[in-house]
């Protein structure tokens, strides 16, 4: 049976793992390499790395950090941040990344996304969408340009670009510890034809249990801060879920 995936997200600034709150405030947590070692031992099913400096164009893609993390990992690694050019995207695959995450490029550089899908296959490409609530509806938010993208339809874009997975971030709950927004998850997941990873607001294992029971077709639950502040976080979460949600327990 295919298991539900539990995915820690590591937000990086200046090569340091940070806690993210509402995508605005960042507090340093520690060294990403060491954190990854723990997360794997604790049973993470995949790891997602988002380099915020690279995403916002503050610094170029940090290949050395990616290589360091990739060399110690024996589970899938996805990377997002600053992937605007074909050469950069090839280079992160060479550095050991298994799947790439595109955000800005989905609108600004569709030709590159097409080329990467053609070469590496859809299954290696994840589209990332940051969601914010505005004027009584959920909209995709473009963080770099600081504007809403009211005309973006996630399903249409996913089909057009042949994305393999969709990674949704609920920015309004980022770092809030208020739990996941189940209705947002359900409404987005309902119309998608590819697996979805949902993130934003998780404070404990119970939040994940509520998420999967409210949205049983969801492929993966992701969380940032919560996994980094609790000893054995992933393992404890999976033990808690195992009664009701199929999760991988042998690691």
């Amino acid at each position: 049976m295919l298991k539900k995936r539990i995915i820690p997200v590591l937000y990086i600034k200046n090569s340091i793992l940070v806690q993210s709150i509402l995508f605005k405030t960042y507090r340093p947590i520690g060294c990403p390499e060491i954190t990854v070692d723990f997360l794997i031992r604790w049973g993470a099913d995949e790891v997602i790395i988002i380099d915020l400096d690279a995403a916002y164009g503050v610094s170029p893609v940090n290949y050395e950090m990616i290589r360091n993390i990739a060399s110690r990992i024996d589970i899938p690694l996805s990377y997002g941040g600053g992937l605007q050019k074909l050469e950069d995207t090839h280079a992160v695959f060479q550095a050991g990344v298994d799947k790439v995450i595109f955000n800005q490029a989905l609108y600004e550089n569709k030709a590159m996304v097409h080329e990467i899908v053609y070469r590496y296959g859809s299954q290696a490409v994840i589209g990332s969408f940051d969601m914010k609530y505005d004027k009584a509806e959920w909209k995709v938010f473009n963080y770099k340009a600081k504007c809403f993208l009211p005309n973006v339809c996630i399903n249409t874009l996913t089909a057009e670009l042949a994305l393999g997975e969709v990674f949704i971030n609920n920015v309004d709950r980022d770092g809030s510890l208020l739990g996941y927004d189940i209705s947002l998850c359900r409404s987005l997941n309902k119309n998608l034809t590819v697996p979805m990873i949902f993130c934003g607001g998780c404070s404990n294992a119970k939040d994940m249990a509520i998420l999967f029971s409210g949205c049983p077709e969801l492929s993966a639950a992701a969380a940032g801060n919560f996994f980094h502040f609790t000893e054995l976080s992933v393992h404890k979460t999976k033990s808690y879920l195992s009664g009701t949600v199929p999760v991988r327990l042998s690691y």
Partner: protein
């Protein structure tokens, strides 16, 4: 440990970095990443890695020469091994639905077609899924073990060649073996310790299946 010369085929796609670090971790250091047939020929084991689309990979393989003839000749030689991972395994087929107009390597009589999923299931088949027991050898004995899959297409071949299967909407060959050709639909390099151990056993010829 027996020294084994490994060549990873470079189709300028593929998760080469990830695969290379796995080999180093499990103790294989003689690794070349190349698309040059004479260099590949010198290896004890050639790996066709696991990220890429069928058409693109076959096109790249054939850029260096007639890939199908090359591999058939290679496999006739004593002590040689060919391992395909994910798309690398699907390349062993005669044809694939994924890319019309390109023939596969024709190393395992088979075709590749899209997985038939149930109404509430999606493709790609991505994540950790359980596979049947691979071997009775204690080292890689697994009753129920989860391994990492990420694909939308499956190999359709003679069931006698299937060593282990998974289930997602339908039965999916997880591991196939025909003589010195081994195909893994899942990613051993991303399947934790079990995956690394399995890869090691395959390379050392210590898998009894």
């Amino acid at each position: 440990m027996k020294s084994i010369k490994i060549a990873i085929f470079d189709y300028s796609a593929g998760n080469l970095g990830s695969l290379k670090s796995t080999f180093h971790r499990i103790g294989f250091d003689d690794i070349t990443i190349t698309n040059d047939f004479p260099t590949l020929e010198e290896a004890d084991c050639i790996i066709l890695p696991g990220v890429g689309s069928f058409g693109y990979c076959i096109k790249t393989l054939n850029q260096s020469g007639d890939a199908s003839s090359f591999f058939k000749k290679f496999l006739k030689r004593e002590g040689k091994l060919l391992v395909g991972i994910c798309i690398g395994m699907q390349l062993f087929a005669d044809v694939s639905e994924e890319s019309d107009g390109y023939n596969g390597l024709g190393l395992i009589p088979s075709c590749v077609r899209k997985i038939k999923v149930n109404i509430n299931q999606r493709l790609p088949h991505v994540g950790w899924n359980s596979i049947d027991k691979i071997s009775n050898e204690p080292k890689t004995s697994n009753n129920v073990i989860d391994v990492y899959f990420d694909h939308s297409y499956k190999l359709v071949c003679d069931p006698d060649l299937v060593v282990s299967s998974a289930f997602y909407g339908e039965k999916i060959p997880a591991m196939v073996k025909k003589g010195n050709v081994v195909g893994l639909q899942f990613h051993p390099e991303l399947s934790g310790k079990f995956g690394s151990d399995l890869l090691k056993d395959i390379l050392l010829g210590e898998l009894n299946c």
